[in-house]
Symmetry: C2
Subunit: 176 residues, 2 copies
């Protein structure tokens, strides 16, 4: 990724203390999204790494992954595959589950979203513990498609999410 | 909008009966999203109408509006403002409510998302009864910004959502 732009883009990430709960410092990307220069620089800085990777689709993880991934897909000139929370997709789905602090959660993809021969780039805003990204990779592989990479705007390195994705091409533009 | 492309794009909309509940025929846009030609044609066909409208931001309505609107913003070279369901945005918000079949629902926008001098295009996937679009317009105006238009991929004309938006520039690419 073009991480020369990371120090500039980092200025548009706002720390919000105690969200979604006490003790968590949330990385708010809305100042970056609303700035036309920063938003387009973000999409281009990520897309440039995958221009020659034969990407056929960008899979976007609900909800903030939708905001970034659709712009990146538009830059790459490819289609978009939504990976959604349980019960949101209307047609036949595959499911994958991942662990939360307490209990598990489920993500879904349509069974006809991609297939053999497709090379899918997975996009999300943040990688924390890596559970969602791992489940997203499983979904793409259940479709018979190949995971060409996992692209994040932000990596919270101290949570070691990358360790849940051994052998994957995982790239993050901004690291904390 | 460039609705010469509408008949072609309509082929990528899938009818799913009885979703989200019995008796509703849901318009599933995922076949359109995943097709690179259709996805890019959709974004370009909508964006072309607003190229000379001095748009500063695209406001995108959670969640499917995120998928379309971010690509349209990318085409227009402008930033994105997420309009989200209650409790999802981390910072200080304005709220607007709208009526559901039973009860009301609330959408929110960050208080610093836009301001006077900004011209905002609101994007969502579908206009049905128009309640969400109307609430989104109220939010943008609470920020002191101007609503330059409301752009939809799909208009369910028989639900007359347009009547809730008098005096607004409302444009839909595909009509049923």
């Amino acid at each position: 990724m073009n991480d020369e732009n990371a120090p500039y883009l980092k200025k548009f990430i706002r720390d919000v203390p105690d969200f979604p709960k006490k003790g968590i410092v949330f990385k708010d990307i809305t100042p970056l999204l609303k700035d036309r220069g920063a938003f387009n620089m973000m999409a281009e800085s990520i897309a440039v790494s995958y221009e020659d990777a034969g990407i056929t689709h960008v899979a976007v993880i609900e909800s903030r992954g939708f905001l970034l991934g659709s712009a990146i897909a538009s830059q790459l000139g490819v289609g978009v595959i939504p990976i959604r929370k349980k019960g949101k997709l209307p047609w036949k789905v595959h499911q994958a589950s991942y662990e939360l602090e307490y209990g598990t959660d489920v993500v879904e993809v349509h069974q006809d979203a991609a297939g053999p021969g497709d090379r899918v780039l997975i996009v999300d805003d943040v990688i924390a513990t890596g559970g969602t990204a791992k489940a997203a990779c499983e979904l793409i592989e259940k479709l018979g498609a190949k995971v060409a990479g996992v692209a994040l705007l932000i990596e919270l390195s101290f949570l070691k999410g990358r360790e849940k994705l051994p052998g994957r091409d995982v790239q993050a533009l901004i690291k904390y």
